[in-house]
Symmetry: C2
Subunit: 193 residues, 2 copies
């Protein structure tokens, strides 16, 4: 009798994504996932509260953001820090995984319960970045704007990267977003006066 | 027999908000709203599909955004246009209504179904701004960034305005957000090199 399954968590995640890819998120059941992984539903629920949790397993961007904020030198400019942090997230989590990220994006777009959880994930990242920036001396208004802006750039850059046939790296798309924001805001300022 | 009730819609909205303020959103029922308004539930459902719809009635910011985009001169810089548009929304819909806006904010924060709909409203505004900007010649990446940025500024400015004891106008908070974003992004650019 096998009491311990090596890499049960990883096998469940892989089985779940195979099934989500084949038949969609809502049509896939937990027993189907465990059957495909060769494990029991009991094992499934040892690792995950529900199907949505498998979907978002490994998506620890808020945790990564917390570490980036903690490790950055105290005097580092906040925008430089955010751009570098996003480039790092892009390089670690997105570049080289285009097909998987695209599948996730398509599944989220197609399912209201995943969209809701995805929106919550964005809010979670804002909730990490905002106090983290304030702790570095950024005032409340600027911290709120920069935290939201960072999540916007992550989201817009990911979609632009997925839609880009040129296969530019996502970390470069992130930098392009910051450059474009700078450019367009400067032009706006020049024309106000 | 009264077949037509003058301003039934307005009476239902006012009754609903009185009750939401007194006892919260989830505890308030449609029969309570109609009793308070002196109207029938049948009349209620002539105007609103459900309780959430009364809550968001009159919140036609995407519609306003569509009109602002259509009315702006073709050559107007997109950021100037967005800042002016947000100042107009702030002046028309927020300034002078601080208590009502604060009540709405508190009710949304307290109720998951209102938060979900509020997030959808933000997505609706992005969905109007993005193609509207592209129709004015802004490219896809910049249109996506600016549409999301505008919704972020509206959201952050509203919360900053509500929390500000100095009672600055929300249209001035909107401009302050754009000024701060410009400033912090410029500093960021200067320090990258």
């Amino acid at each position: 009798m096998v009491r311990w399954s090596p890499d049960a968590r990883g096998r469940l995640e892989r089985a779940a994504f195979e099934l989500f890819a084949e038949q969609g998120f809502s049509a896939t059941t937990v027993p189907e996932i465990t059957a495909r992984a060769g494990l029991t539903t009991r094992t499934f629920f040892r690792y995950f509260a529900d199907k949505r949790e498998v979907f978002f397993a490994g998506d620890e961007i808020p945790e990564l953001a917390r570490r980036v904020l903690a490790a950055a030198p105290p005097g580092l400019d906040p925008v430089v820090l955010l751009e570098q942090g996003l480039r790092q997230v892009a390089a670690d989590r997105f570049d080289g995984h285009r097909d998987e990220v695209r599948l996730r994006r398509d599944l989220v777009d197609a399912d209201p319960s995943l969209r809701e959880r995805d929106a919550q994930k964005r809010a979670d990242l804002v909730a990490v970045l905002r106090p983290g920036l304030q702790a570095r001396g950024v005032d409340a208004l600027e911290a709120a704007l920069l935290a939201e802006l960072t999540v916007v750039v992550l989201h817009v850059a990911m979609r632009a990267w997925l839609d880009d046939p040129a296969e530019e790296s996502m970390s470069d798309v992130v930098s392009r977003c910051f450059t474009r924001l700078r450019g367009v805001l400067e032009v706006g300022a020049a024309r106000v006066f």
